[in-house]
């Protein structure tokens, strides 16, 4: 079956933009906005699926906005890597919107929760699809400003405190990005990624290009929460309502990782020993310190937030090894991580609704009374820790194998150790929240029948993501074939250059 020729690249963006603008017309009727959000995220999933099929059949899609020829105008590009991420982001968006219907308070919905959510997803989708470095900066800002609003919507004290750190560090990272763009433009005279990729390998002043690589590393590193730059993440992610936290935990840092992978496979590959050797060290430190932070914490959501940091390390490890298997592993790991991590955040929200707390010492009694929630948690938690045959195992296995093949035994050792510590902190949650009885002085806030009657959509959203995890676990070859093809494309910049510049 071949698809007819249509602008598949634009459909996801159009749908999200129309959803946003349409819901703005109904500012006072949040139920209409909710309907807009549900339909546009469902359609987004559909168009993202179409995009993946179209990219799979055509190798790569490129679209010149305004019909300006390639290096001068803004280009939208989708290779398999971005198409996979758009698809995963659409799955998460749909699940989050379903979850938010019964999770987010009415006052937040009345103050424009849904339009802003759609803008944020719009920004994420645009960052995946753009082929121009300055345009990437603009998409980042669209996404970030929407996420600023989402993170403070509701004005809790904790939300405000977390938001101060988040906003300031994001602003600084955008500044670094801008400076990197400025230096690169000065040196090469172009902003188009494909054009840059064809100019940089023969550039006479490559040491100066390394300087711009440093700026990009800082900018994307803050957004992706790499080792020395991650302190904003555990401070701000646990504070907003769970629907927001789940979406951000799944998507926003991964946009930073996406940009890192794109830049350090397409542009900065002329001195691999220096740049990627540095990335490998950062990857190891990120993994290790993230998981150490998680082990120390006693709050369900904070444990999960620190785990985001440690898992970013695995993705950067795949990037730093820069072999076909390693990149395929990184892409597989990203897809797995986005789904599992968002699901764990959603489950932490359900647990908070049941027990009224997210502090581990005050939780308990879930295993006995809520077996369905327990099953959801077990699958995601063990998948995160990398227990075979769940999806996290495949990701870690491929990465470890790639590390062995490149003879980087130290990073393989660190990654396996971190897997063990992940299992340890997950079993801490398991022991306190699920296995133990309800602590004295605490009461269950939500009985089983109330949960199934009033909050059933929370369970449906989480079950939907769990089914996705199980599909990835037992049929990994589909995603693995896709990510291997994607990594082939990433390792050969000529494909990208050819598809964008020779229209």
């Amino acid at each position: 079956m071949t698809l007819p020729e249509l602008p598949y690249l634009m459909f996801p963006l159009w749908i999200l933009l129309f959803g946003f603008i349409g819901s703005l017309f109904f500012w006072k009727y949040w139920k209409v906005q909710q309907a807009f959000a549900i339909t546009s995220s469902a359609l987004y999933l559909f168009t993202a699926g179409l995009l993946v099929i179209a990219v799979y059949q055509n190798e790569m899609l490129a679209l010149q906005i305004g019909n300006w020829p390639a290096p001068f105008g803004i280009t939208l590009v989708a290779d398999l890597f971005s198409a996979i991420l758009v698809l995963i982001s659409s799955i998460i968006s749909l699940a989050t919107v379903i979850y938010s219907i019964q999770d987010v308070s009415k006052s937040r919905k009345k103050n424009g929760f849904y339009p802003i959510l759609l803008v944020m997803i719009f920004g994420v989708c645009g960052s995946f699809l753009t082929g121009d470095i300055f345009n990437l900066y603009v998409w980042f800002e669209v996404m970030l400003i929407a996420s600023f609003v989402l993170i403070i919507l509701g004005n809790d004290k904790a939300q405000l405190e977390g938001a101060v750190k988040y906003v300031i560090l994001s602003f600084i990272s955008s500044g670094f990005l801008l400076m990197g763009i400025g230096i690169l433009y000065r040196l090469t005279g172009t902003l188009n990624m494909a054009d840059l990729a064809s100019v940089i390998p023969n550039h006479p002043n490559q040491p100066y290009i390394i300087i711009s690589a440093v700026f990009f590393f800082m900018g994307f590193g803050i957004k992706a929460a790499l080792f020395p730059l991650f302190s904003w993440l555990p401070a701000s992610y646990p504070t907003p309502p769970i629907s927001v936290a789940a979406l951000m935990a799944g998507l926003l840092t991964k946009v930073g990782v996406y940009a890192l992978i794109r830049f350090f496979t397409l542009l900065f590959t002329f001195d691999i020993a220096l740049t990627h050797g540095f990335l490998l060290i950062v990857a190891g430190l990120t993994m290790f310190f993230g998981v150490i932070g998680a082990v120390a914490q006693n709050d369900f959501r904070k444990v999960l937030s620190f785990h985001i940091v440690s898992q970013i390390g695995y993705m950067v490890m795949g990037l730093a090894l820069l072999t076909q298997w390693a990149l395929a592993g990184a892409i597989f790991y990203m897809a797995h991580h986005i789904i599992v991590k968002s699901n764990l955040f959603m489950i932490s929200g359900i647990v908070k609704d049941i027990n009224g707390h997210s502090l581990l010492s005050k939780l308990g009694g879930l295993y006995r009374q809520y077996p369905f929630v327990t099953v959801l948690f077990v699958i995601s938690a063990f998948s995160l820790a990398g227990i075979p045959p769940l999806s996290g195992f495949w990701g870690k296995f491929i990465l470890a194998r790639a590390g062995m093949e490149s003879e980087q035994y130290l990073i393989v050792f660190v990654s396996l150790l971190v897997g063990l510590l992940t299992l340890f902190s997950m079993s801490k949650i398991w022991k306190h929240a699920f296995w133990s009885d309800v602590p004295e002085g605490e009461t269950i806030q939500l009985t089983k029948s109330q949960l199934y009657k009033k909050k059933y959509l929370l369970l449906i959203a989480s079950a939907f993501l769990t089914v996705c995890t199980l599909l990835m676990s037992f049929f990994p070859d589909l995603l693995l074939t896709l990510s291997q093809k994607a990594s082939e494309q990433l390792l050969d910049p000529q494909v990208y250059i050819k598809n964008v510049l020779n229209q």
Binding site: I145, L160, E161, V167, F171, I181, P238
Partner: protein
Amino acid sequence: MNFIIALIIGMLFTSSVFLMFQKSFFKLIIGVILFGYATVFFIFTIGGVTKDAPPLLTNAPDHNQALADPLPQALSLTAIVISIGVQLFMIVLLKKVHEDVETEDLDELNSTDRIA
């Protein structure tokens, strides 16, 4: 000329980092605004400060004269608009934090960092 501009940019960055390291909200705001200026000034300058003709083909005295590159200015305009938006957001955010948390000391915003 370029040396003086580079010096100004360096001073802007130094003072913004110094101010952001202080505890007061107000100094933080000023520091962030200066950081925004410094980055915009940086891309504007690195794009090349030249005395070439404006990039309008009808206005160019003859076609041999070099034309200035308009793109860095377009980039800095976009960056200015975005950074002013974020700065305004931050000012309102810090005002709200000041009202709710009742402090002006950044070090006291640590309730989300403590291990409970």
